[in-house]
């Protein structure tokens, strides 16, 4: 296993970058670009802008890498940079929205799975629309990115209990939507 290879821990890669191995940083970009691109789309609603945004986020993370002290995981630290960049960029683009059925790549899903996914996306979109807009991104960080309450709190600065109660309600709505869909089949 090479220290900058696909299996290396984030912390090892960061140590190498701080030792002057700039190329090692590309492993972190490869590892996290999917999340950052999805977040970028949520803020900017445009694939090309999401790519520019993601490039910006990674360059910011590189320049500020010495400021990463390991108090949270690297992914949480990076998500905080991305969140702040998103909040700044969004002023132009308006409301944060989750990925719609259009710009996600669902070709690999069976028709049945694609249907469940569409229902899930619809229920979560509704749940987000019912929230004050600033919390919508918390639901995506939880449901889409699989982050934990604490880490979402660290990335966005919102209180963990607030995030928890929004997720709670969204899950309840989601279960209801899925249950209703089942009944109609």
């Amino acid at each position: 296993m090479s220290p900058g290879g696909p299996e290396a821990a984030d912390e090892d890669i960061i140590a190498r970058v701080l030792d002057g191995d700039t190329d090692a940083f590309s492993a972190l970009v490869r590892r996290y670009q999917r999340r950052i691109l999805r977040l970028g789309y949520g803020f900017l609603k445009d694939v090309e802008s999401a790519e520019d945004y993601a490039q910006d986020v990674f360059v910011k993370a590189y320049v500020g890498l010495a400021g990463f002290k390991g108090r949270s995981s690297f992914s949480t630290w990076l998500t905080r940079i991305a969140y702040n960049a998103g909040i700044n960029a969004k002023r132009k683009a308006g409301r944060y929205e989750p990925l719609e059925s259009e710009p996600v790549d669902t070709r690999s899903l069976s028709p049945e799975d694609a249907h469940i996914r569409a229902e899930t996306a619809e229920a979560l979109t509704k749940a987000m629309a019912a929230l004050p807009e600033k919390y919508a991104v918390c639901l995506d960080l939880y449901f889409r990115e699989g982050m934990k309450y604490e880490d979402i709190g660290a990335a966005t600065g919102f209180p963990v209990n607030t995030i928890k109660s929004h997720v709670f309600r969204a899950k309840r709505d989601l279960r209801e939507a899925l249950g209703a869909g089942e009944g109609s089949v």
Partner: protein, 154 residues
């Protein structure tokens, strides 16, 4: 555990495997087990796809990095100040310790001299490290100050 409490707990748990008490209920209750499995599967599917039409941005990022200031390991100013504070307060506080006074009474300067020598070298070491690690910073500030003075004189 009742089914109602199971479902409320299910909505409340973090992104993590089912906690033991919920798992026990799910094992004996088919309705709750399938509810929990359906929720997990739906979230799993929601998580799957990538942003369509986007390309790998790694080459774009790596092409930019050589033009950016390279990050370097640093000790934050806060850590420097805390360390300095600890060293200075130990110099002040050590002579006040009852043990220090007791040993001083027995051994006199044969005890106090080495202790203060040790503390003194600690301060020297700290000061030396601080100056060495901030040389870049000092010279930048000095240059900025010189430019400022020059601007004023002109």
């Amino acid at each position: 555990m009742t089914c109602d409490r199971f479902l409320a707990a299910l909505d409340g748990i973090d992104n993590e495997p089912l906690p033991a008490d919920l798992a026990i209920h799910a094992r004996s209750c088919r309705a709750c087990a399938s509810e929990s499995a359906a929720l997990r599967a739906a979230i799993g599917l929601y998580r799957l796809p990538d942003l369509a039409g986007s390309s790998d941005i790694t080459p774009r990022v790596t092409a930019l990095l050589p033009f950016m200031p390279a990050p370097r390991r640093t000790v934050s100013m806060r850590d420097w100040i805390i360390t300095g504070f600890v060293i200075v307060s130990s110099i002040v506080l050590v002579p006040l310790l009852a043990e220090f006074r007791a040993l001083k009474a027995v051994y006199g300067s044969g005890f106090t001299l080495p202790v203060f020598l040790a503390l003194g070298s600690l301060v020297t070491l700290y000061g030396g490290l601080f100056v060495m690690s901030h040389l870049d910073d000092f010279s930048r500030r000095l240059k900025a100050w010189q430019i400022h003075q020059h601007g004023r004189a002109a």
